[in-house]
C-alpha cells in the first residue's frame, strides 16, 4: 500500500472516529436517574394536538392539571386550591393554589388557565361538549376564573379532571395561544419535572429532571392526584424498538423500569427475583371491534347483529394476551371495574353464538358481500384481533377479505368513507384505555352522531340524546341508569363490540419503589436505591 494511500486511510479513519465522538453528548451523571423504557418513543411534544399516549405521559411529567382523579376515581383539586359551585349549579369558581410557577419562573395565573382550557377544548371531544354546553368562561382575578354552563351541570369539573384521551394540561398563555392544530415544540409547564431540551433526541431518548421549584400538595399521592413528590434527580426514557432487548436490559440491570412487559416474555422476568411485576393501571384496557355503518353489509342492522353474535371474547383475548392472569371477558362497555359497569347485551358480547349469527344472516338476506377487515401487521397489540374476528365471521357464514397493512395505513384508511372495494373498510379492531372510556362522555367510540362520529359513523340519535342527558345529570344513580341504557342501545345497534378487558403489567427492578397505581405511568413518588 502506498504512503499516500496510508495517509489517506489514516485521515479518513481519524475523521470518522471524530464524527462518532462529536455526535455524542457528555453530561454529568446525576445522583439518581431512573432509566425507563416506555411503550413507544417520544417524538411529538404537544399533548394537546395528539392523543398519542406517550405524549400524554410526557405531559404528566412536565405539566400539571387543575383537577385530577385519585386511585378511587374521585375528583380532587390539583393546581386548584378549591372549586365552588353556585347555588343554581351553573357557575363554577376555580381558585388556583398559591406559589405555582412555570418552569421559566413566571407565576401561573388564571389567564394562563383559561387560555389552556380554550386550546384543549377545541381538540378534545369532552372539551368540545363542555364548550357547547358552556355559556361563559372568564378570569375574575389573577388566581381565579369561572365557568358558567347553560344549564346546571358539573360537566366542566368532570371534563377538567379527565385523565387521558387529551388531558387538559395547563400551559403559559403565550404558548397556549398557539393554534391547536399547530404543534408546540417546547415543554414549559408547571409540573413536577422539567424537560431537558438539550438531551432530547426524538425517537431515541428524553430526559426529565426534578423541578426543584415545584410545590407538591400536602396530601399523599393517590392515582393522578395528591402530592407529586419527586424523589429522584432525573428520569430518562430510552426508546428500545425490540421487546426482547428491553427485557434483557431490565434483567441485566441496564434499565430500571419497563412500562409494558410483553405477555409472552413475562415468564422470563417472573423467574428473576430482582424484578417486580405489577399491574399499575388497575382499570386496564378494552379491546373493541368497530363496524362501518355506511356501506354493505353493515349498513344492515340485522347483519351487524349477526357479526356481534359471531365473535366471542375468550378466543380474542386468548390470542391477544394468552395469560389468563391478565385478561377477563367483560360485557361492560365502560369497564367492569367502573362506576358505570353494566351487563346489558352480555348475551351478545361475551360468548360467540355462530348458530344465532347464521340465523340472523339468513333473515337479513345476506348476499355474500365480502367483509373487508383491516389487519395491521406491525403493531402487536392490534394484529391478532382481526385474524380471530375473521375466522369467527367465516364460521358464521360471512365472506371475509382480510387486508394486511401497517398501522399507519389503517389509521388513514379507516377515515375513508368510500366503499370498501374503493379503499374503504368494513371492520377494524383497536384498544381503548379504560380511563378514556369509563363513561359515555369520555368513550368517544360510543358517540353515534352519524358522519360526526368516530370512524364507522353510526347514526343513532337516541344515543346522542342520552349522552347529552348524561352530561347534564348531577345524580349518580340517574347517570348509572343512563349509562346502562346507552350500553343497551350501543350493543343493539352494533355501534361498538367490546371484546374484553385486559391489563398490562409493568416490570421494574427491586431498586425501584413507590410506583403508583394510576391510569398513566407516573414517576413522582418513585424512589431508586
Amino acid at each position: 500500500m502506498s504512503k499516500a494511500m496510508s495517509s489517506f486511510t489514516h485521515a479518513a479513519l481519524a475523521a470518522s472516529l471524530l464524527a462518532c465522538g462529536l455526535v455524542g453528548s457528555v453530561h454529568a451523571q446525576a445522583k439518581t436517574t431512573v432509566n425507563a423504557v416506555m411503550h413507544a418513543p417520544l417524538r411529538v411534544l404537544d399533548p394537546i394536538i395528539t392523543t398519542a399516549h406517550i405524549t400524554r405521559n410526557h405531559g404528566y411529567m412536565v405539566y400539571d392539571t387543575l383537577l385530577a382523579t385519585d386511585k378511587d376515581n374521585q375528583i380532587r383539586p390539583q393546581m386548584l386550591q378549591d372549586w365552588k359551585a353556585s347555588a343554581d349549579g351553573r357557575t363554577y369558581t376555580f381558585k388556583l393554589r398559591a406559589g405555582l410557577k412555570w418552569h421559566d419562573g413566571g407565576a401561573v395565573t388564571a389567564e394562563d388557565c383559561v387560555a389552556s382550557i380554550k386550546r384543549w377544548a377545541t381538540q378534545d371531544k369532552m372539551g368540545q361538549l363542555m364548550t357547547s354546553e358552556m355559556a361563559d368562561m372568564k378570569v375574575v382575578d389573577v388566581s381565579t376564573f369561572t365557568i358558567t354552563m347553560k344549564e346546571a351541570s358539573d360537566l366542566a369539573v368532570r371534563a377538567l379532571a379527565k385523565p387521558s384521551g387529551v388531558a387538559p394540561f395547563m400551559m403559559p398563555k403565550r404558548i397556549a395561544e398557539t393554534p391547536p392544530t399547530q404543534a408546540i415544540t417546547t415543554a414549559i409547564g408547571s409540573g413536577p419535572f422539567k424537560f431537558v431540551a438539550a438531551e432530547f433526541k426524538p425517537g431515541v431518548q428524553v430526559v426529565y429532571e426534578k423541578n426543584t421549584d415545584y410545590v407538591p400538595r400536602s396530601e399523599s399521592a393517590s392515582g393522578l392526584a395528591g402530592g407529586k413528590k419527586v424523589l429522584v434527580d432525573r428520569v430518562k426514557w430510552i426508546a428500545t424498538p425490540d421487546a426482547m432487548t428491553s427485557v434483557n436490559a431490565l434483567v441485566n440491570g441496564e434499565i430500571d423500569y419497563l412500562e409494558q412487559l410483553p405477555f409472552d416474555l413475562e415468564p422470563i422476568v417472573r423467574a428473576n427475583k430482582d424484578i417486580a411485576i405489577k399491574v399499575l393501571d388497575p382499570q386496564g384496557y378494552q379491546t373493541v371491534m368497530r363496524m362501518n355503518h355506511l356501506h354493505a353489509p353493515f349498513n344492515n342492522k340485522k347483519i351487524r347483529e349477526a357479526a356481534m353474535y359471531a365473535v366471542g371474547q375468550e378466543p380474542v383475548l386468548q390470542a391477544m394476551i394468552g395469560n389468563k392472569q391478565y385478561f377477563k371477558p367483560c360485557a361492560a362497555l365502560f369497564g367492569c371495574d367502573s362506576a358505570y359497569a353494566s351487563q346489558e347485551g352480555a348475551d351478545v358480547t361475551i360468548k360467540a353464538n355462530p348458530k344465532k349469527a347464521q340465523e340472523l344472516l339468513k333473515e337479513a338476506g345476506y348476499d355474500g358481500t365480502p367483509v373487508v377487515i383491516l389487519q395491521p401487521t406491525d403493531t402487536p397489540s392490534v394484529n391478532t384481533q382481526p385474524v380471530v374476528i375473521g375466522q369467527a365471521l367465516r364460521a358464521a357464514g360471512f365472506k371475509v377479505e382480510m387486508q394486511a397493512m401497517d398501522w399507519q395505513t389503517v389509521v388513514t384508511r379507516r377515515a375513508n368513507q368510500a366503499l370498501p372495494k374503493e379503499g374503504g373498510w368494513n371492520i377494524f379492531a383497536t384498544n381503548n384505555v379504560m380511563a378514556e372510556a369509563s363513561d359515555p362522555l369520555r368513550a368517544f367510540g360510543v358517540a353515534a352522531n352519524g358522519k360526526g362520529a368516530w370512524f364507522g359513523w353510526p347514526d343513532v340519535p337516541e344515543i346522542e340524546r342520552l349522552r347529552i342527558e348524561f352530561s347534564r345529570t348531577g345524580e349518580e344513580a340517574k347517570r348509572k341508569q343512563l349509562a346502562g341504557q346507552i350500553q343497551k342501545l350501543v350493543i343493539a345497534e352494533g355501534v361498538l363490540l367490546p371484546m374484553g378487558q385486559y391489563y398490562v403489567p409493568a416490570a421494574y427492578r427491586n431498586s425501584i419503589s413507590g410506583a403508583l397505581e394510576a391510569p398513566v405511568p407516573v414517576f413522582w413518588n418513585v424512589q431508586k436505591k
Partner: protein, 313 residues
C-alpha cells in the same frame, strides 16, 4: 484523474434529482396521512385539514416538491412533521452510531475475511478451504438477529462482558464506546466476513492460474510473496467493489442490528420515519443514502487505479 472525479460528481447531480423526484412521488402515492398520525384517533376532519395546512400538505404536490427543492438548494433539509426538529439535527444525532457500526464492521470484516479468503484459495480443495467455505455459508445464512441474540445471551447476560443494548459515543470514553459497539460489530460482521471471504477466494483462485504467478514462482519468490504481493493485489478489484457495496449498505441498511442492540442509527431512523410517514425525514435520508452510494462508488472506482495501474481515467 481530477477531471474524472469532477465528471463523476457532475453526473451524480441528475441521479440525485431523479432520486429526489422518485422518493417524493412514492411517498405522496403511499397510503398514510401524517396529519392523522400526528393528531391521533379522535381528530375531526376539520382539525386534520387544519393540521395539513399548517404542515403545508394541503398544497398541490408540485408546489410541495418545488418548495422542498428550494429548501435543499439552500441547505435546509426540512423539519420533522412529528417532532418539529430540524432534519439535519436528527441526522447528525443519529450519524454517530451508524458510522461507528459501519467502520467497525468493515474493518473487522476486512481483517478477518481477506486472510481467510486468501488462505482458502491457497489451499483450494483442502480441509481449510472447505472449512472456510462452510463457515461463510453459515455466516450469510444465519439471520443477523439470531447471531445477535446468541451473543447477548452468552457474552452479555451470561458472561457479563458487554452491555445488552445502547450506544456510548467516544466522548464518553474509549472503553464504554468499544464495549457498546463490540457485540453489534461481531453480529453484523459475520455476514460481511462470509461475503468478502468468498469473493476473495474466488478472485484469488482466478488470478493464481495466471501466467505471471507462474513466472513469479519460477523466479524463486516464496509462496507468501506470490500470494500477497502478486495474487491478492491483482484480485483486489472485485474485493474492493464488494467492500464498497458493503459500506454503502451498512450506512442505512442495518436496522435489524440497530433494533436488537438499540443503537440509535440512521437505519432505524429511516424505518421509523417511514412508519410514521414523516416525509421530510424520509426524503432527506433517502437522498443522503443515494449520495453516499454515489460517493462510495466513486471512491471504489478511484481505488481501482491504485490496485491496477493499467486502469486510467
Amino acid at each position: 484523474m481530477i477531471a474524472f472525479v469532477l465528471k463523476r460528481m457532475a453526473a451524480a447531480l441528475p441521479v440525485m434529482v431523479v432520486v429526489a423526484a422518485v422518493v417524493f412521488a412514492i411517498l405522496r402515492l403511499t397510503p398514510g396521512d401524517p396529519a392523522a398520525i400526528l393528531a391521533g384517533d379522535s381528530a375531526t376532519p376539520e382539525q386534520l385539514e387544519a393540521i395539513r395546512q399548517n404542515l403545508g400538505l394541503d398544497k398541490p404536490v408540485y408546489q410541495q416538491f418545488l418548495h422542498w427543492i428550494g429548501q435543499l438548494l439552500s441547505g435546509d433539509l426540512g423539519t420533522s412533521l412529528l417532532s418539529g426538529t430540524p432534519v439535519l439535527e436528527m441526522v447528525v444525532q443519529r450519524m454517530g452510531p451508524s458510522i461507528a457500526l459501519c467502520l467497525s464492521t468493515i474493518i473487522v470484516a476486512i481483517v478477518v475475511a481477506i486472510p481467510l479468503g486468501v488462505l482458502a484459495a491457497w489451499r483450494q480443495g483442502k480441509l481449510l478451504d472447505r472449512a472456510v467455505m462452510a463457515l461463510s455459508v453459515l455466516g450469510f445464512s444465519i439471520p443477523v438477529f439470531v447471531t445477535a441474540y446468541v451473543l447477548i445471551l452468552t457474552l452479555s447476560l451470561g458472561a457479563g462482558w458487554f452491555p445488552v443494548q445502547g450506544y456510548k459515543p467516544l466522548s464518553e470514553g474509549l472503553w464504554p464506546f468499544l464495549r457498546s459497539i463490540t457485540l453489534p460489530t461481531l453480529a453484523l460482521s459475520s455476514v460481511y466476513i462470509a461475503l468478502i471471504a468468498r469473493i476473495t477466494r474466488t478472485s484469488v483462485i482466478e488470478v493464481m492460474n495466471e501466467d505471471f504467478i507462474r513466472t513469479a514462482r519460477a523466479k524463486g519468490l516464496n509462496e507468501r510473496g506470490v500470494l500477497l504481493g502478486h495474487a491478492l493485489r491483482n484480485a483486489a478489484v472485485p474485493i474492493v467493489t464488494i467492500i464498497g457495496v458493503g459500506i454503502a449498505m451498512l450506512i442505512g441498511g442495518v436496522v435489524v442490528t440497530e433494533s436488537v442492540f438499540n443503537l440509535p442509527g440512521l437505519g432505524r431512523l429511516v424505518v421509523e420515519a417511514v412508519l410514521a410517514r414523516d416525509y421530510p425525514v424520509i426524503q432527506a435520508l433517502i437522498l443522503l443514502f443515494a449520495l453516499v452510494y454515489v460517493l462510495i462508488n466513486l471512491v471504489v472506482d478511484v481505488s481501482y487505479t491504485i490496485f491496477d495501474p493499467r486502469i486510467r481515467y
